[in-house]
């Protein structure tokens, strides 16, 4: 038996939490999936700049409203974790209970300026494993998938699926979409190495200069893209994930080997 997941590739309106919440509810209420995953900062939009100082106020209220729904929901918001401290946050709602995870790696290069606004999550406290309908999963946000450790840690802690809400802006659109190639490679590598499902849910549409390319996808533990949303437009897709595919990878891979000595070396680098 598998878990039906919906990749809700939406185009949030920048700064308009009320309108975005309505969009979330519309999708959730008409969904046949068990678990509905929205992109990074799905309730607020991504290119917020100084709007973060306003939108954080509405985020948690919106999450509260989402928690009335009878599903597993992952949605993105700006959360104030203590007065004056904001974090790029994903809310994980399971059977009306809300928990939060925070982005660890805050991109602050090129077009990104997250470190200007957000405090990073603390791996010692903020790595969390969730379970829904027999599937254990972890949630990391966008840039965290560009590093080994967040997914590796969650996997070793027990996750068999990693949900990755993202807001990946389009860059290097040439003959091929460079950034899409990069993401496919990353997800395949994470899936293959860890024997996990990786579920990438991207924002779509324009926000200021940037344009989020969509292309949400699910990669199986064998490294195959088994579902792919459209590029450049709003598109929700439903697919099913199961533990058999996880077993198929792990029976015939060396995932079970975990040599901690590497971490002793890494720790001192």
């Amino acid at each position: 038996m598998g878990l039906k997941i919906e990749l809700a590739q939406i185009r949030p309106k920048l700064g308009d939490v009320k309108l975005n919440l309505e969009k979330h509810l519309e999708i959730i209420q008409s969904s046949t999936a068990d678990c509905i995953v929205f992109p990074e900062l799905s309730l607020t939009g991504y290119v917020l700049r100084d709007l973060v100082y306003e939108v954080y106020k509405e985020g948690e209220k919106a999450v509260e409203r989402l928690s009335d729904e009878n599903k597993c929901i992952i949605a993105g918001l700006v959360k104030e974790t203590r007065p004056g401290i904001l974090r790029n946050t994903a809310a994980i709602i399971i059977d009306h209970k809300v928990d939060y995870v925070y982005k660890f790696y805050l991109p602050t290069y090129g077009l990104f300026e997250e470190r200007r606004y957000f405090q990073p999550g603390d791996p010692k406290k903020d790595l969390k494993i969730f379970e829904y309908k027999g599937i254990k999963f972890g949630v990391i946000i966008c840039e965290d998938a560009w590093h080994y450790e967040p997914i590796q840690a969650l996997t070793l802690m027990g996750a068999d699926t990693i949900f990755i809400p993202a807001s990946s802006p389009m860059r290097r659109l040439s003959v091929k979409l460079g950034i899409q190639d990069n993401w496919e490679a990353l997800l395949k590598a994470h899936s293959l190495i860890n024997g996990i499902w990786t579920v990438f849910v991207n924002t779509v549409g324009s926000q200021e200069e940037e344009f989020f390319w969509g292309g949400s996808m699910v990669v199986s533990p064998s490294g195959e893209i088994i579902a792919k949303a459209k590029l450049f437009e709003e598109n929700s897709i439903i697919t099913e994930i199961n533990l058999n595919e996880v077993r198929k990878n792990r029976f015939f891979s060396s995932f079970r080997e975990h040599n901690r000595d590497f971490y002793d070396v890494l720790k001192n680098l």
Partner: protein, 279 residues
């Protein structure tokens, strides 16, 4: 010349680019709450390509032809060809700007062709904005990445627009996009010119062809290569490579909003960084 390496890097999937830019124009107009877009069409490659994209994005568009005495007959004919291609025979207005330019020049008491040229560009901007306001449209700019980077535009003239759809495409890429969109070959391949005075051509003024200019811009600012290497790769004198880079640096003020002298605890632009979409 454009080295094969750069040519490859600047190659694009033009079907996808067309879809993308069209979508963005459409979304930008929607988000702005305006009902369409207005564009100045010169008969050159940039405005031809942008006009075609605009016509794909919305039915609500209007074209201004604003020739002056320094506009060639061929340019006006070429603009009319584009109007025909996009079925806009009932969506354009032709305004000769000679009289109004002359009034300005007389008031300023100048015969300097550069000052008068800039007056022309700014008169066109005023007309575009007046029409835009009247029609509840946005002013769709036609500048390309090469011009924007070089600062090869008139501040608050052709630089005075609401949005720049092809502003991230180099001139040579705009030409390729033009071919893809069915812009007649003689428009694609004619020498680019602001036509602010008779006989003015961009490549004549800058002293290099756009294949070379774009290669230098790309290699320097996107790949951050050393100038010596760029000179070698493009088979261009160092002096000319340096000239292009200097043009980019000295025109930075044209690409930014005016500087505000800091006094308060929170000053616009400095630590006031709101998105355009605000409320």
């Amino acid at each position: 010349m454009m080295p094969e390496y750069v040519k490859q890097k600047l190659s694009l999937d033009f079907a996808e680019i067309t879809e993308y830019l069209t979508k963005r124009i459409k979304e930008y107009i929607e988000e702005s709450g305006k009902s369409g877009g207005i564009i100045g069409l010169s008969g050159g490659i940039d405005s031809s390509v942008t006009a075609i994209l605009l016509s794909k994005a919305t039915k609500n568009f209007h074209i201004l032809l604003m020739p002056s005495s320094s506009t060639s007959k061929k340019d006006i004919e070429d603009a009319m060809k584009i109007i025909k291609i996009i079925n806009a025979e009932d969506k354009y207005t032709l305004i000769n700007i000679d009289n109004i330019t002359e009034d300005f020049s007389n008031l300023v008491k100048t015969t300097d062709k550069i000052i008068i040229g800039n007056i022309k560009a700014r008169v066109r901007m005023i007309l575009l904005y007046a029409f835009a306001q009247k029609m509840n449209y946005l002013v769709i700019g036609t500048g390309d990445k090469s011009e924007i980077m070089l600062g090869y535009f008139t501040k608050y003239g052709d630089g005075g627009v609401d949005v720049l759809p092809i502003g991230d495409l180099y001139k040579t890429q705009v030409r390729m996009l033009g071919r893809f969109l069915g812009v007649p070959e003689d428009i694609v391949s004619k020498p680019p010119s602001p036509a602010l005075w008779e006989g003015q051509t961009a490549e004549g003024e800058i002293g290099l062809d756009y294949e070379t200019i774009d290669s230098i811009l790309y290699l320097k600012f996107e790949e951050m290569r050393e100038e010596e290497e760029i000179s070698e790769m493009t088979k261009t004198d160092m002096a000319k490579v340096e000239k292009i880079i200097k043009m980019v640096k000295t025109s930075q003020h044209k690409r930014l909003p005016p500087e505000i002298f800091r006094l308060s605890g929170r000053a616009v632009n400095s630590d006031w960084r709101y998105p355009r979409q605000w409320g």
